[in-house]
Assembly symmetry: C2
Homo-oligomer: 234 residues x 2
Protein backbone atom coordinates (compact mmCIF):
# COMPACT_ATOMS: atom_id res chain seq x y z
CA UNK A 1 0.00 0.00 0.00
CA UNK A 2 1.12 3.54 -0.69
CA UNK A 3 1.69 5.82 2.29
CA UNK A 4 -1.23 8.09 3.17
CA UNK A 5 -0.92 11.68 1.97
CA UNK A 6 -1.93 14.71 4.03
CA UNK A 7 -2.25 18.20 2.58
CA UNK A 8 -0.45 21.16 4.15
CA UNK A 9 -0.40 24.85 3.24
CA UNK A 10 3.32 24.78 2.63
CA UNK A 11 6.09 22.28 3.21
CA UNK A 12 8.56 23.19 5.98
CA UNK A 13 11.98 24.50 5.04
CA UNK A 14 13.62 22.51 7.85
CA UNK A 15 13.43 18.87 8.82
CA UNK A 16 10.71 19.14 11.52
CA UNK A 17 6.99 19.64 11.11
CA UNK A 18 3.93 19.65 13.36
CA UNK A 19 0.84 18.32 11.60
CA UNK A 20 -2.26 19.68 13.35
CA UNK A 21 -5.63 21.15 12.32
CA UNK A 22 -8.05 18.96 10.36
CA UNK A 23 -5.27 16.97 8.67
CA UNK A 24 -3.56 16.42 12.03
CA UNK A 25 -6.84 15.19 13.47
CA UNK A 26 -7.27 12.83 10.56
CA UNK A 27 -3.72 11.49 10.79
CA UNK A 28 -3.55 11.17 14.59
CA UNK A 29 -7.12 10.30 15.58
CA UNK A 30 -8.66 8.63 12.50
CA UNK A 31 -5.78 6.99 10.62
CA UNK A 32 -4.13 6.55 14.07
CA UNK A 33 -0.56 6.84 12.86
CA UNK A 34 1.95 5.96 15.58
CA UNK A 35 5.60 6.72 16.36
CA UNK A 36 7.91 5.31 13.72
CA UNK A 37 5.22 5.11 11.03
CA UNK A 38 5.58 7.07 7.81
CA UNK A 39 3.30 9.36 5.82
CA UNK A 40 3.43 11.81 2.94
CA UNK A 41 2.93 15.56 3.18
CA UNK A 42 1.87 17.39 0.04
CA UNK A 43 1.38 21.08 -0.63
CA UNK A 44 -0.88 20.37 -3.63
CA UNK A 45 1.43 22.51 -5.76
CA UNK A 46 4.11 20.05 -6.79
CA UNK A 47 5.86 19.54 -3.45
CA UNK A 48 5.75 16.22 -1.60
CA UNK A 49 7.70 15.05 1.44
CA UNK A 50 8.01 11.70 3.16
CA UNK A 51 8.02 12.01 6.94
CA UNK A 52 8.23 9.76 9.98
CA UNK A 53 6.22 10.22 13.19
CA UNK A 54 8.40 11.26 16.17
CA UNK A 55 5.55 11.82 18.59
CA UNK A 56 1.78 11.41 18.43
CA UNK A 57 -0.70 13.45 20.48
CA UNK A 58 -4.41 14.01 20.30
CA UNK A 59 -5.08 15.79 17.00
CA UNK A 60 -1.41 16.31 16.19
CA UNK A 61 1.74 14.56 15.07
CA UNK A 62 5.36 15.67 15.42
CA UNK A 63 7.19 14.67 12.26
CA UNK A 64 10.71 14.47 10.86
CA UNK A 65 11.05 14.98 7.12
CA UNK A 66 12.94 12.07 5.54
CA UNK A 67 13.02 13.17 1.92
CA UNK A 68 11.28 15.64 -0.35
CA UNK A 69 10.72 16.06 -4.07
CA UNK A 70 9.09 18.47 -6.46
CA UNK A 71 7.13 17.77 -9.62
CA UNK A 72 6.87 20.39 -12.36
CA UNK A 73 3.35 21.31 -13.45
CA UNK A 74 2.06 19.31 -16.43
CA UNK A 75 2.35 20.66 -19.95
CA UNK A 76 0.11 20.34 -21.86
CA UNK A 77 -2.54 20.67 -19.19
CA UNK A 78 -5.63 18.45 -19.39
CA UNK A 79 -8.81 20.44 -18.79
CA UNK A 80 -12.33 19.00 -18.85
CA UNK A 81 -15.39 21.24 -19.12
CA UNK A 82 -17.90 18.93 -17.44
CA UNK A 83 -21.59 19.51 -18.11
CA UNK A 84 -23.27 19.90 -14.73
CA UNK A 85 -25.01 16.61 -13.93
CA UNK A 86 -27.71 15.76 -11.46
CA UNK A 87 -27.48 13.71 -8.28
CA UNK A 88 -24.06 12.36 -7.43
CA UNK A 89 -22.98 11.89 -11.07
CA UNK A 90 -21.08 15.17 -11.10
CA UNK A 91 -19.12 14.26 -8.00
CA UNK A 92 -18.39 10.78 -9.35
CA UNK A 93 -17.04 12.40 -12.51
CA UNK A 94 -14.87 14.81 -10.52
CA UNK A 95 -13.57 12.01 -8.33
CA UNK A 96 -12.61 9.69 -11.18
CA UNK A 97 -11.09 12.42 -13.35
CA UNK A 98 -9.04 13.68 -10.41
CA UNK A 99 -7.67 10.20 -9.72
CA UNK A 100 -6.80 9.92 -13.41
CA UNK A 101 -4.85 13.18 -13.30
CA UNK A 102 -7.03 15.92 -14.80
CA UNK A 103 -5.42 19.34 -14.24
CA UNK A 104 -8.55 21.49 -14.26
CA UNK A 105 -12.29 20.91 -14.21
CA UNK A 106 -14.67 23.60 -15.42
CA UNK A 107 -18.30 23.10 -14.35
CA UNK A 108 -20.21 23.88 -17.54
CA UNK A 109 -23.73 25.27 -17.24
CA UNK A 110 -25.25 23.48 -20.25
CA UNK A 111 -28.70 23.87 -21.75
CA UNK A 112 -29.53 20.29 -20.85
CA UNK A 113 -28.07 20.36 -17.34
CA UNK A 114 -31.01 19.20 -15.24
CA UNK A 115 -29.43 20.33 -11.98
CA UNK A 116 -29.28 24.07 -11.37
CA UNK A 117 -26.61 25.44 -9.03
CA UNK A 118 -28.54 28.05 -7.02
CA UNK A 119 -25.83 28.73 -4.49
CA UNK A 120 -22.17 28.09 -3.79
CA UNK A 121 -22.66 24.64 -2.23
CA UNK A 122 -22.43 22.38 -5.29
CA UNK A 123 -19.18 24.06 -6.35
CA UNK A 124 -17.78 23.58 -2.84
CA UNK A 125 -18.78 19.91 -3.03
CA UNK A 126 -16.93 19.48 -6.33
CA UNK A 127 -13.90 21.21 -4.80
CA UNK A 128 -13.86 19.10 -1.67
CA UNK A 129 -14.43 15.95 -3.77
CA UNK A 130 -11.43 16.90 -5.93
CA UNK A 131 -9.30 17.59 -2.86
CA UNK A 132 -10.14 14.25 -1.24
CA UNK A 133 -9.65 12.35 -4.49
CA UNK A 134 -6.27 14.04 -5.02
CA UNK A 135 -5.15 12.92 -1.56
CA UNK A 136 -6.42 9.40 -2.19
CA UNK A 137 -4.53 9.34 -5.50
CA UNK A 138 -1.36 10.84 -3.94
CA UNK A 139 -1.32 13.59 -6.53
CA UNK A 140 1.44 16.20 -6.31
CA UNK A 141 -0.82 18.89 -7.80
CA UNK A 142 -4.40 19.52 -6.73
CA UNK A 143 -6.66 19.98 -9.75
CA UNK A 144 -8.24 23.39 -10.15
CA UNK A 145 -12.05 23.36 -10.04
CA UNK A 146 -12.99 26.64 -11.72
CA UNK A 147 -16.12 28.71 -11.22
CA UNK A 148 -19.15 27.54 -13.25
CA UNK A 149 -18.96 28.78 -16.84
CA UNK A 150 -21.58 29.47 -19.48
CA UNK A 151 -21.29 28.07 -23.00
CA UNK A 152 -19.61 31.16 -24.48
CA UNK A 153 -16.83 31.07 -21.90
CA UNK A 154 -16.30 27.33 -22.41
CA UNK A 155 -16.34 27.76 -26.20
CA UNK A 156 -13.62 30.40 -25.95
CA UNK A 157 -11.28 27.77 -24.45
CA UNK A 158 -12.50 24.50 -25.99
CA UNK A 159 -10.08 22.34 -27.99
CA UNK A 160 -12.28 19.23 -28.39
CA UNK A 161 -15.94 18.39 -27.85
CA UNK A 162 -17.00 14.80 -27.17
CA UNK A 163 -19.68 13.96 -29.72
CA UNK A 164 -20.67 10.41 -30.66
CA UNK A 165 -21.36 11.43 -34.26
CA UNK A 166 -17.97 13.07 -34.84
CA UNK A 167 -15.84 11.71 -37.70
CA UNK A 168 -12.58 12.28 -35.74
CA UNK A 169 -11.45 10.05 -32.89
CA UNK A 170 -9.90 11.30 -29.68
CA UNK A 171 -7.51 8.35 -29.91
CA UNK A 172 -5.94 9.57 -33.17
CA UNK A 173 -6.69 13.29 -33.56
CA UNK A 174 -3.66 15.65 -33.49
CA UNK A 175 -2.97 17.00 -30.01
CA UNK A 176 -1.50 20.40 -29.11
CA UNK A 177 2.09 19.99 -27.88
CA UNK A 178 1.66 22.44 -25.04
CA UNK A 179 -0.81 24.78 -23.36
CA UNK A 180 -4.31 23.71 -22.36
CA UNK A 181 -6.12 20.80 -23.99
CA UNK A 182 -9.73 21.61 -23.12
CA UNK A 183 -12.26 18.83 -23.72
CA UNK A 184 -16.00 19.41 -23.38
CA UNK A 185 -18.20 16.63 -21.92
CA UNK A 186 -21.97 17.10 -22.12
CA UNK A 187 -24.42 16.59 -19.23
CA UNK A 188 -26.75 13.54 -19.08
CA UNK A 189 -28.99 14.89 -21.82
CA UNK A 190 -26.08 15.51 -24.15
CA UNK A 191 -24.91 18.64 -25.93
CA UNK A 192 -27.62 20.73 -27.60
CA UNK A 193 -27.19 21.39 -31.36
CA UNK A 194 -26.78 25.14 -30.83
CA UNK A 195 -24.09 24.47 -28.23
CA UNK A 196 -22.24 22.15 -30.59
CA UNK A 197 -22.47 24.85 -33.26
CA UNK A 198 -21.02 27.43 -30.84
CA UNK A 199 -18.10 25.16 -29.97
CA UNK A 200 -17.37 24.45 -33.62
CA UNK A 201 -17.55 28.11 -34.50
CA UNK A 202 -14.92 28.82 -31.85
CA UNK A 203 -12.63 26.28 -33.50
CA UNK A 204 -13.21 23.28 -31.21
CA UNK A 205 -12.97 19.90 -32.95
CA UNK A 206 -15.74 17.34 -32.30
CA UNK A 207 -14.25 13.94 -31.45
CA UNK A 208 -15.73 10.59 -30.50
CA UNK A 209 -14.69 7.95 -27.98
CA UNK A 210 -15.74 4.61 -29.38
CA UNK A 211 -19.15 3.73 -30.74
CA UNK A 212 -21.08 3.22 -27.54
CA UNK A 213 -22.77 5.93 -25.50
CA UNK A 214 -20.78 6.87 -22.41
CA UNK A 215 -22.54 8.26 -19.38
CA UNK A 216 -21.43 11.78 -18.40
CA UNK A 217 -19.70 10.42 -15.29
CA UNK A 218 -17.68 7.94 -17.41
CA UNK A 219 -16.83 9.99 -20.49
CA UNK A 220 -14.45 12.41 -18.79
CA UNK A 221 -12.31 9.81 -17.06
CA UNK A 222 -12.18 7.67 -20.20
CA UNK A 223 -11.05 10.69 -22.20
CA UNK A 224 -8.42 11.66 -19.62
CA UNK A 225 -7.12 8.06 -19.72
CA UNK A 226 -6.78 8.08 -23.50
CA UNK A 227 -5.09 11.49 -23.51
CA UNK A 228 -2.74 10.55 -20.65
CA UNK A 229 -1.62 7.46 -22.54
CA UNK A 230 -1.16 9.42 -25.78
CA UNK A 231 0.79 12.20 -24.07
CA UNK A 232 3.15 9.75 -22.37
CA UNK A 233 1.95 10.69 -18.89
CA UNK A 234 0.93 7.10 -18.23
CA UNK B 1 -29.87 11.76 -28.54
CA UNK B 2 -29.44 8.13 -29.50
CA UNK B 3 -32.55 5.98 -29.75
CA UNK B 4 -33.32 3.90 -26.67
CA UNK B 5 -32.29 0.24 -26.88
CA UNK B 6 -34.41 -2.65 -25.60
CA UNK B 7 -33.07 -6.18 -25.19
CA UNK B 8 -34.88 -9.15 -26.74
CA UNK B 9 -34.12 -12.87 -26.65
CA UNK B 10 -33.77 -13.00 -30.41
CA UNK B 11 -34.42 -10.61 -33.25
CA UNK B 12 -37.38 -11.53 -35.49
CA UNK B 13 -36.73 -13.04 -38.91
CA UNK B 14 -39.55 -10.99 -40.41
CA UNK B 15 -40.38 -7.33 -40.36
CA UNK B 16 -42.89 -7.33 -37.47
CA UNK B 17 -42.25 -7.66 -33.76
CA UNK B 18 -44.28 -7.44 -30.56
CA UNK B 19 -42.28 -6.04 -27.66
CA UNK B 20 -43.86 -7.19 -24.40
CA UNK B 21 -42.68 -8.53 -21.04
CA UNK B 22 -40.46 -6.31 -18.86
CA UNK B 23 -38.89 -4.53 -21.84
CA UNK B 24 -42.33 -3.92 -23.36
CA UNK B 25 -43.50 -2.48 -20.06
CA UNK B 26 -40.47 -0.23 -19.92
CA UNK B 27 -40.89 0.94 -23.53
CA UNK B 28 -44.67 1.44 -23.45
CA UNK B 29 -45.38 2.51 -19.88
CA UNK B 30 -42.14 4.11 -18.64
CA UNK B 31 -40.40 5.53 -21.72
CA UNK B 32 -43.94 6.03 -23.16
CA UNK B 33 -42.99 5.52 -26.78
CA UNK B 34 -45.83 6.39 -29.15
CA UNK B 35 -46.90 5.51 -32.70
CA UNK B 36 -44.36 6.70 -35.24
CA UNK B 37 -41.48 6.89 -32.75
CA UNK B 38 -38.36 4.78 -33.20
CA UNK B 39 -36.34 2.52 -30.93
CA UNK B 40 -33.56 -0.04 -31.14
CA UNK B 41 -33.91 -3.76 -30.44
CA UNK B 42 -30.78 -5.66 -29.49
CA UNK B 43 -30.22 -9.36 -28.87
CA UNK B 44 -27.06 -8.67 -26.86
CA UNK B 45 -25.19 -11.01 -29.19
CA UNK B 46 -24.24 -8.72 -32.04
CA UNK B 47 -27.65 -8.15 -33.59
CA UNK B 48 -29.35 -4.76 -33.52
CA UNK B 49 -32.47 -3.55 -35.35
CA UNK B 50 -34.08 -0.15 -35.69
CA UNK B 51 -37.86 -0.30 -35.45
CA UNK B 52 -40.82 2.07 -35.57
CA UNK B 53 -43.89 1.86 -33.34
CA UNK B 54 -47.05 0.83 -35.27
CA UNK B 55 -49.31 0.51 -32.25
CA UNK B 56 -48.88 1.11 -28.51
CA UNK B 57 -50.84 -0.70 -25.80
CA UNK B 58 -50.44 -1.10 -22.10
CA UNK B 59 -47.17 -2.99 -21.53
CA UNK B 60 -46.62 -3.71 -25.23
CA UNK B 61 -45.65 -2.18 -28.54
CA UNK B 62 -46.28 -3.46 -32.05
CA UNK B 63 -43.21 -2.69 -34.15
CA UNK B 64 -42.04 -2.71 -37.75
CA UNK B 65 -38.36 -3.39 -38.32
CA UNK B 66 -36.79 -0.65 -40.44
CA UNK B 67 -33.22 -1.90 -40.70
CA UNK B 68 -30.95 -4.38 -38.98
CA UNK B 69 -27.21 -4.92 -38.63
CA UNK B 70 -24.82 -7.37 -37.04
CA UNK B 71 -21.50 -6.72 -35.34
CA UNK B 72 -18.87 -9.45 -35.14
CA UNK B 73 -17.59 -10.26 -31.66
CA UNK B 74 -14.46 -8.33 -30.66
CA UNK B 75 -11.02 -9.86 -31.11
CA UNK B 76 -8.95 -9.54 -29.03
CA UNK B 77 -11.47 -9.62 -26.20
CA UNK B 78 -10.97 -7.27 -23.23
CA UNK B 79 -11.44 -9.08 -19.94
CA UNK B 80 -11.08 -7.50 -16.50
CA UNK B 81 -10.72 -9.60 -13.36
CA UNK B 82 -12.11 -7.11 -10.87
CA UNK B 83 -11.23 -7.55 -7.20
CA UNK B 84 -14.50 -7.70 -5.29
CA UNK B 85 -15.03 -4.30 -3.66
CA UNK B 86 -17.26 -3.21 -0.85
CA UNK B 87 -20.34 -1.02 -0.98
CA UNK B 88 -21.39 0.20 -4.39
CA UNK B 89 -17.80 0.44 -5.73
CA UNK B 90 -18.05 -2.91 -7.47
CA UNK B 91 -21.22 -1.95 -9.27
CA UNK B 92 -19.78 1.44 -10.24
CA UNK B 93 -16.79 -0.38 -11.71
CA UNK B 94 -19.03 -2.81 -13.64
CA UNK B 95 -21.19 0.04 -14.92
CA UNK B 96 -18.31 2.18 -16.17
CA UNK B 97 -16.35 -0.74 -17.69
CA UNK B 98 -19.49 -1.93 -19.49
CA UNK B 99 -20.10 1.51 -20.98
CA UNK B 100 -16.48 1.58 -22.09
CA UNK B 101 -16.86 -1.76 -23.88
CA UNK B 102 -15.34 -4.46 -21.67
CA UNK B 103 -16.15 -7.93 -23.07
CA UNK B 104 -16.01 -9.93 -19.86
CA UNK B 105 -15.79 -9.18 -16.15
CA UNK B 106 -14.54 -11.81 -13.73
CA UNK B 107 -15.35 -11.11 -10.05
CA UNK B 108 -12.08 -11.93 -8.32
CA UNK B 109 -12.21 -13.16 -4.73
CA UNK B 110 -9.04 -11.44 -3.49
CA UNK B 111 -7.33 -11.74 -0.13
CA UNK B 112 -8.00 -8.09 0.58
CA UNK B 113 -11.60 -8.07 -0.65
CA UNK B 114 -13.44 -6.69 2.36
CA UNK B 115 -16.84 -7.73 1.05
CA UNK B 116 -17.64 -11.44 1.10
CA UNK B 117 -20.21 -12.81 -1.32
CA UNK B 118 -22.22 -15.23 0.83
CA UNK B 119 -24.95 -15.91 -1.68
CA UNK B 120 -25.86 -15.38 -5.30
CA UNK B 121 -27.23 -11.86 -4.88
CA UNK B 122 -24.08 -9.77 -5.40
CA UNK B 123 -23.32 -11.64 -8.63
CA UNK B 124 -26.88 -11.07 -9.81
CA UNK B 125 -26.47 -7.37 -9.01
CA UNK B 126 -23.27 -7.20 -11.09
CA UNK B 127 -25.08 -8.96 -13.93
CA UNK B 128 -28.11 -6.70 -13.87
CA UNK B 129 -25.84 -3.65 -13.59
CA UNK B 130 -23.93 -4.83 -16.67
CA UNK B 131 -27.17 -5.47 -18.55
CA UNK B 132 -28.58 -2.02 -17.78
CA UNK B 133 -25.28 -0.30 -18.57
CA UNK B 134 -25.05 -2.17 -21.89
CA UNK B 135 -28.53 -0.93 -22.82
CA UNK B 136 -27.65 2.59 -21.77
CA UNK B 137 -24.48 2.43 -23.87
CA UNK B 138 -26.31 0.86 -26.87
CA UNK B 139 -23.85 -2.01 -26.95
CA UNK B 140 -24.37 -4.73 -29.54
CA UNK B 141 -22.87 -7.39 -27.27
CA UNK B 142 -23.70 -7.82 -23.60
CA UNK B 143 -20.58 -8.31 -21.51
CA UNK B 144 -20.21 -11.66 -19.80
CA UNK B 145 -20.09 -11.46 -16.01
CA UNK B 146 -18.48 -14.76 -15.01
CA UNK B 147 -18.87 -16.66 -11.78
CA UNK B 148 -16.60 -15.45 -8.93
CA UNK B 149 -13.08 -16.85 -9.28
CA UNK B 150 -10.30 -17.54 -6.82
CA UNK B 151 -6.75 -16.33 -7.40
CA UNK B 152 -5.51 -19.55 -9.01
CA UNK B 153 -8.27 -19.48 -11.64
CA UNK B 154 -7.63 -15.80 -12.36
CA UNK B 155 -3.86 -16.39 -12.56
CA UNK B 156 -4.41 -19.14 -15.14
CA UNK B 157 -5.94 -16.56 -17.49
CA UNK B 158 -4.19 -13.30 -16.52
CA UNK B 159 -2.25 -11.35 -19.16
CA UNK B 160 -1.58 -8.17 -17.16
CA UNK B 161 -1.83 -7.13 -13.51
CA UNK B 162 -2.29 -3.48 -12.59
CA UNK B 163 0.46 -2.64 -10.12
CA UNK B 164 1.60 0.90 -9.35
CA UNK B 165 5.20 -0.25 -8.85
CA UNK B 166 5.49 -2.06 -12.18
CA UNK B 167 8.25 -0.95 -14.55
CA UNK B 168 6.07 -1.57 -17.65
CA UNK B 169 3.27 0.75 -18.70
CA UNK B 170 -0.10 -0.43 -19.99
CA UNK B 171 0.09 2.39 -22.52
CA UNK B 172 3.19 0.97 -24.23
CA UNK B 173 3.46 -2.74 -23.34
CA UNK B 174 3.09 -5.21 -26.23
CA UNK B 175 -0.48 -6.44 -26.64
CA UNK B 176 -1.62 -9.85 -27.90
CA UNK B 177 -3.07 -9.55 -31.40
CA UNK B 178 -5.98 -11.85 -30.67
CA UNK B 179 -7.60 -14.00 -28.00
CA UNK B 180 -8.31 -12.72 -24.50
CA UNK B 181 -6.44 -9.82 -22.93
CA UNK B 182 -7.10 -10.42 -19.24
CA UNK B 183 -6.22 -7.55 -16.90
CA UNK B 184 -6.33 -7.94 -13.11
CA UNK B 185 -7.53 -5.01 -10.96
CA UNK B 186 -7.09 -5.30 -7.19
CA UNK B 187 -9.80 -4.56 -4.60
CA UNK B 188 -9.67 -1.39 -2.42
CA UNK B 189 -6.86 -2.77 -0.30
CA UNK B 190 -4.74 -3.64 -3.31
CA UNK B 191 -3.18 -6.89 -4.44
CA UNK B 192 -1.41 -8.91 -1.75
CA UNK B 193 2.28 -9.77 -2.39
CA UNK B 194 1.56 -13.50 -2.58
CA UNK B 195 -1.19 -12.85 -5.13
CA UNK B 196 1.14 -10.72 -7.23
CA UNK B 197 3.69 -13.53 -7.05
CA UNK B 198 1.08 -16.06 -8.19
CA UNK B 199 0.11 -13.88 -11.16
CA UNK B 200 3.74 -13.36 -12.17
CA UNK B 201 4.47 -17.06 -11.86
CA UNK B 202 1.62 -17.77 -14.27
CA UNK B 203 3.22 -15.41 -16.78
CA UNK B 204 1.12 -12.29 -16.22
CA UNK B 205 2.97 -9.01 -16.72
CA UNK B 206 2.65 -6.30 -14.04
CA UNK B 207 1.84 -2.95 -15.63
CA UNK B 208 1.13 0.49 -14.26
CA UNK B 209 -1.33 3.20 -15.27
CA UNK B 210 0.29 6.51 -14.47
CA UNK B 211 1.90 7.48 -11.20
CA UNK B 212 -1.15 8.22 -9.10
CA UNK B 213 -3.18 5.69 -7.15
CA UNK B 214 -6.44 4.82 -8.90
CA UNK B 215 -9.41 3.67 -6.87
CA UNK B 216 -10.62 0.16 -7.74
CA UNK B 217 -13.77 1.58 -9.35
CA UNK B 218 -11.68 3.86 -11.60
CA UNK B 219 -8.75 1.62 -12.55
CA UNK B 220 -10.72 -0.82 -14.71
CA UNK B 221 -12.47 1.76 -16.85
CA UNK B 222 -9.24 3.74 -17.28
CA UNK B 223 -7.45 0.57 -18.40
CA UNK B 224 -10.26 -0.37 -20.81
CA UNK B 225 -10.09 3.15 -22.27
CA UNK B 226 -6.33 2.94 -22.84
CA UNK B 227 -6.59 -0.55 -24.37
CA UNK B 228 -9.55 0.42 -26.57
CA UNK B 229 -7.61 3.37 -27.95
CA UNK B 230 -4.50 1.25 -28.53
CA UNK B 231 -6.45 -1.53 -30.24
CA UNK B 232 -8.19 0.88 -32.61
CA UNK B 233 -11.61 0.16 -31.13
CA UNK B 234 -12.07 3.82 -30.24
Amino acid sequence: MSLALFLVDSLPAGSRYTLDGPEGHHAADVARLRVGEELLLGDGAGGTARAVVDAAGRGRLELSIVERWYREPADPRLVVAQGIAKGDRGELAVQAMTEAGVDEIVPWVATRSVAVWRDDKPLQRWRSTAREAAKQARRAWLPVVSAPSATAAVAARATFVLDGDAPSRLSTVDLPASGDIVLVVGPEGGIAPEELAAFRESGAVPVRLGETVLRTSTAGVAAVAVLSARLGRW
